[in-house]
């Protein structure tokens, strides 16, 4: 029987090795797998390369992983935030390597890894600092820069519901990087708020088919949000 449901965050994260490349989903407040990031701090793997849109903020989550000294390199599009002090300090003191990637290139390089593409020509960033010294080519009168895929050893993502085959659906703009990161990693671990009985997720609306997902962990819904959620008491 196929059963990808992990008993705990710690079980799901077991086996992540030093030096791993870890793709972490989320954009702003939406889709950040906080429980998995906290679990990774506990788990202790070090010398990591982290791929995320941002570089952590405040003192928790990704910022805590950085602060614990576990990350060697970060690949992201937007590290600078009002409260990115942990990243700022490490970057300025040369303790953390930064690869800055335009956001769409970040997403597409991850997608390419999942789709088995060796490299692709992309117009974004042509003629800018961020094109580096990579190969360029003119195709039908447009200038392109050669971009390489970003593979993950592990992807940590947050979804809304999943089943024991690993099928996932997301909630609103929390989908963001989840589907492409799931495709691009040797091992994908997803948190969900609900585990669905196999066959009860509508097959027409499953966003990430289970083939891309290896572990599903149920987590409590953190009641800090209003709207669709109830405010914490």
């Amino acid at each position: 029987m196929i059963n990808k449901i992990a008993r705990s965050v710690a079980d799901a994260l077991a086996g992540i090795q030093d030096g791993a490349t870890v793709l972490i989903g989320g954009f702003g407040t939406a889709g950040i797998p906080n429980e998995l990031i906290e679990g990774l701090v506990e788990q202790g793997a070090k010398d990591l390369t982290v791929v995320n849109n941002n570089a952590g903020n405040g003192e928790t989550g990704l910022a805590a992983l950085l602060k614990a000294g576990r990350v060697r390199k970060i690949i992201c599009s937007f590290p600078r935030q009002a409260d990115s002090q942990v990243f700022d300090g490490l970057y300025r003191s040369g303790k953390l390597e930064l690869e800055l990637v335009p956001q769409g290139n970040l997403a597409e390089r991850i997608r390419a890894a999942g789709a088995g593409i060796g490299a692709f020509f992309c117009p974004t960033g042509y003629g800018t600092q961020l094109a580096g010294n990579r190969e360029t080519r003119e195709i039908d009168g447009v200038q392109y820069v050669l971009e390489y895929p970003i593979h993950g050893d592990v992807a940590l993502i947050k979804a809304e519901r999943g089943d024991r085959w690993g099928n996932l659906v997301y909630r609103k703009a929390a989908r963001n990087f989840g589907p492409v990161m799931a495709m691009a990693s040797t091992k994908t671990i997803a948190t969900v708020h609900d585990i669905a009985e196999l066959g009860t997720l509508d097959p027409e609306t499953i966003v990430t088919p289970g083939i891309f997902v290896h572990q599903v962990v149920r987590i409590e819904r953190v009641a800090t949000q209003a709207g669709g959620f109830k405010k914490a008491a």
């Binding site: 954009f27 702003g28 407040t29 939406a30 889709g31 599009s77 937007f78 590290p79 600078r80 990115s84 990243f87 700022d88 970057y91 300025r92 800055l100 990637v101 335009p102 956001q103 769409g104 290139n105 970040l106 997403a107 597409e108 991850i110 997608r111 992309c122 117009p123 974004t124 960033g125 042509y126 003629g127 800018t128 600092q129 961020l130 997301y170 909630r171 609103k172 703009a173 929390a174 989908r175 963001n176 990087f177 989840g178 589907p179 492409v180 966003v207 800090t224 949000q225 209003a226 709207g227 669709g228 959620f229």
Partner: protein
């Protein structure tokens, strides 16, 4: 010579940009000043707002207490979804830009060159932490890239320049610049005037900018 013109306020500038957004357009409004444009779309025009984090049909901010932090815009502020709206992943979102599906994007800028080069992501200062986000994808991807900015820096230097001195975001990508003093087109031949605030002449504007501006 005394010039007796009045600058457009931020809201007047946003209204000026909104006036040119056509019915049915799919539009991405950049972080900061461009988000104001949404408040000024003329009555009767149906415009679809795209947010790079995976929303089409983005609506206004929710009522206090109704915020949903799974439903935020690129600036990470809570928003709403209009009937007909949809969600999608990041790769699809940026395919909408690069693939030429987005009609208009409106961005802020540090500098724009007369031929439409854009600099808006990095001051290039030694201690500055660079951050680019979706700026480079948007700048070269939308069918039309518009810039919304004050024409002059606080020190009085023109932000419209012959060649950008700040690091580039994209080459020849800006079609129009909407500013507090004038609206201009960037063309391969240089700047072309679209409109001016009352009390300012084209000749006076050329002096402020220090570049020729075709009528």
């Amino acid at each position: 010579m005394t010039m007796s013109y009045t600058r457009r306020t931020k809201d007047q500038l946003a209204a000026r940009v909104a006036q040119d957004i056509f019915d049915g357009a799919v539009v991405n409004l950049g972080i900061g000043q461009p988000t104001l444009v949404a408040n000024h779309l003329p009555e009767g025009r149906e415009v679809i707002l795209q947010s790079e984090n995976g929303i089409l049909g983005m609506g206004p901010a929710p009522e206090a207490g109704e915020e949903d932090y799974d439903l935020i815009n690129a600036g990470k502020q809570p928003v709403t979804l209009l009937p007909g709206g949809s969600f999608f992943h990041h790769s699809d979102s940026f395919a909408m830009m690069r693939g030429g599906h987005l009609d208009i994007c409106v961005l802020g800028a540090f500098q724009v060159s007369a031929t439409g080069d854009l600099a808006n992501w990095h001051t290039g200062e030694k201690d500055a932490i660079p951050a680019v986000g979706g700026a480079m994808d948007l700048a070269i991807g939308a069918k039309q890239t518009w810039v919304m900015m004050d024409l002059l820096t606080k020190q009085g230097a023109s932000k419209l320049v012959k060649e950008c001195t700040y690091p580039l975001t994209g080459i020849g990508c800006v079609k129009r610049v909407y500013s507090d003093l004038a609206t201009l087109e960037c063309t391969p031949e240089g700047l072309k005037l679209v409109d001016l605030v009352d009390g300012l002449s084209r000749e006076e504007l050329e002096k402020l900018v220090g570049l020729p501006i075709a009528a």
